[in-house]
Amino acid sequence: MATTTDARPVARTIFRRPAGHTGFWSWITTTDHKKIGIMYGYTAFVFFILGGLEALVLRIQLAVPENTFLSAAEYNAMFTMHGTTMIFLFVMPVSAAFFNYLLPLMIGARDVAFPRMNAVSFWIFFFGGVFLYTSFIFGTTGPPEGGFAAEVSRLGTAPNGGWFGYAPNSGAQFSTGTVLDYWSLGLQILGLASLISSVNFIVTVFNMRAKGMSLLRMPVFVWMTTVVAFLLLFSIPIIAVALFMITFDRQFGTLFFDAAAGGDPVLWQHLFWLFGHPEVYILILPAMGIVSEVLPTFSRKPLFGYPAVVFAGAAIGFMGFGVWAHHMFSSGVTPITQAAFGLSTMAIAIPTGIKIFNWLGTMWGGRITLNTPMLFSIGFVAMFVIGGLSGVTHAVVPADWQQTDTYYIVAHFHYVLFGGAIFGLFSGLYYWFPLLTGRMYNETLGKIHFWILMLGFNMTFAPMHWLGLNGMVRRTWVYANEAELAQWNMVVTVGAFIIAVGVAVFMANWMYSKRNGPKAGMDPWDARTLEWTIPGPTPNYNFGVNPVVTSLDDFWHKKYSEDSEGRPVRRPEADTLLAELEETGLNPPAPIHLPAPSYYPFMVGVAIPIMGYGVIYKDQAFGIPLALVGMLILVGSFAGWGVEPLELDEDHEEGDHA
């Protein structure tokens, strides 16, 4: 785009506009989707380590029968924070990191539709997570009305009602301290971040695609992102209402979940799981998208049945809203409801099965390269099948009555969320590492990471199946010696520490290779999607020249034709094409406009938790003023935002020398 005019007065804003592209403030004020993606990734990884430490603490407690390492109260806080962290502060944001970094690259755009809103999403998420964790420092646990107060260490002053926060336990009557306020408001804040980003991603996908990139030419990862964004869009408002209700019950005296006053605690379960079940697809679909990119690349075949994979993903999204009551078979819902939800739950296995077979079909007869991302993707498929099968057993209502609230359930959802989602996410981290850093990770360490994780994972979660079927109950801090569960519990605990070793290997590999890995060069995987037409590390304007797409897997078809038996033959001009792409990628022929940095998204993120503290401490002298200060910052930020143009005039020369 041509530079339009001569010197004009610089836009009038409250602060001087930030302008740098490096250094601390460039990260605070960035509106670049790649930087935001990286910040999502690192923040989420810090929370992953915290959630992992919480899991290790839990496993130390459960290693031997009748252990006294943790008190019951501390154990409650630990398992609640482990679940809440892993779901809301790790898997969701790390998926958001992939969306942010890759979505515009894969559809051939220079940024998302709303770059500043994107930064707002991140900062609200970041401070929402911090807000939740400050409960360890400021939170108080109170006795239930008429109960007795127990001594609780700081390890126990975190939210302690489970990640599902069942009412009435989470209501004012049974949790008199503030920790559940941290939980309900913290989740509300995190939900807001997800809602904003879902709007952003949907508009980006529908409006920002490169020329020729029709919907059915989009990579499967983009499709899964879209489905996830819609799931968030329709499920977040439901949990928002539920969280408002519990917050009002706790803070302002409403009676929604107070059974003694005619309220309805089961209503909480309905609202929560009406959000909570789509949520599990929100967690798994991004990983499915990643695997659908990795498997074809390293099998050197197109994805088997692309439209089927896409439609199966969309079908999972739709059906995900119709299965929630399978979390509630033991809550006294009617037999008709149980039968209906049992059936719909079994039905959702069909689109999931379609995907599994398509992935197998992709690998079948392919020239498979068994490198780290591929290993993790194959691991994903295998582990997810195990978790999926145990999932179908929950759809059988009488069986579920036996399994519910036992470690069998814990085994199931760790097979789908760890063996599934996290394996898929690791696969993606290795796969796109060269794009992110311009360098290669260490393959040997990568494989060591995979095999340690595979061993540790199965040692940890496979024995939970039979522990659960033998009667080991969830969410209980001790088990009796006579229960004969000790042996396998020790195996599980050892497995958990092996997982920790695996994660340490990953971190070492990441930190080392980021600086010292060999240069990756253009298109190191000989891949098929648009992001690989860019030289890594991705320049801040993404594409030197806007791509034009003529087919699915366009990049691949530009590099390869087929011989008479359908085998790929490299076109003679492929190397020239790559050299050209590298040249235009590094030295764009025309100046490129980019959205300018801004302080306001950061300030919005700061303001919202301040208001949260104000609500929690509204009965104290500083509560209301605090809420007002937060609101003032919020309104001021929006006002400043409103008069601030998206782009800086000084930014015109961006692409020339970057």
Binding site: M1, V112, F114, V199, N200, K211, L646, E647
Partner: protein, 227 residues
């Protein structure tokens, strides 16, 4: 929309010259030329997408009210046996509903005035819409205080809680709408008119405003009219 008045002034950072740069179109920095894939502006599409989420939000609140609406709370602890349905003043609420509906009309008139380039008329109708909104919120405030005066508070019983929750969140939405309308009105007054880009903002506020009205029609029917 070249016919929208071009605002001038030496410090005018939002003037027409700048339109290519500050309007938040992804395309402007995406450099795709002038097309969005759907042909709809990013911000407009974003508003539609956001409003679809709002439908779920109010859907959940309305379901919550419906669940508690018909229940008899006799015999439960810590409650007052007073039901929202006994207190409704249908003629009063009908009038305030009518006021809110009329504000949708004035919103359309404001949009129409801007489309024909009449900045003064735009401001008049923007102000009128905001005023009608304030009358509605004022009416709700009056209604709430009447109910509280008659003994029904947010803690009386779950049905009362659900009533205040649903209508209160709707009122908050109207209030935010009023703030947006007044900001547009103030900007237009300060710089003597709205630019094309801000005209799109007016359209977005309009979408939001009509949405809030539609939700009120549903709430009025379900909560007040159907026994």
């Amino acid at each position: 929309m070249a016919d929208i008045a071009h605002v001038d002034g030496p410090t005018d950072e939002d003037g027409p010259v700048d339109d290519n740069h500050d309007n938040g179109h992804g395309d402007e920095h995406g450099g795709h030329g002038d097309h969005e894939s759907t042909g709809t502006d990013n911000r407009k599409l974003g508003m539609w997408v956001f409003l679809s989420s709002e439908f779920m939000f109010f859907g959940a609140l309305i379901s919550n009210y419906l669940l508690f609406k018909g229940r008899d709370f006799t015999g439960f602890d810590r409650i007052t046996l007073i039901y929202p349905i006994e207190l409704y003043d249908i003629p009063f609420t009908s009038i305030s509903s009518f006021v809110l509906l009329m504000s949708s009309l004035t919103m359309v008139l404001a949009h129409d005035a801007l489309a024909s380039g009449d900045q003064n008329r735009t401001r008049v109708w923007l102000a009128a819409t905001g005023m009608l909104g304030m009358v509605f919120v004022g009416g709700q405030f009056f209604e709430f205080s009447e109910f509280i005066h008659e003994g029904m508070t947010i803690s009386s019983n779950p049905a009362a809680s659900a009533f205040y929750m649903l209508t209160g969140f709707h009122g908050a939405h109207v209030f935010i709408g009023i703030l947006m309308l007044l900001s547009l009105w103030g900007i237009s007054r300060r710089q003597g008119g709205l630019t094309e880009d801000q005209g799109l903002n007016l359209e977005l506020v309009g979408l939001y405003w009509h949405f809030v009205d539609i939700i009120w029609i549903v709430i009025f029917t379900i909560v007040y009219l159907i026994p």
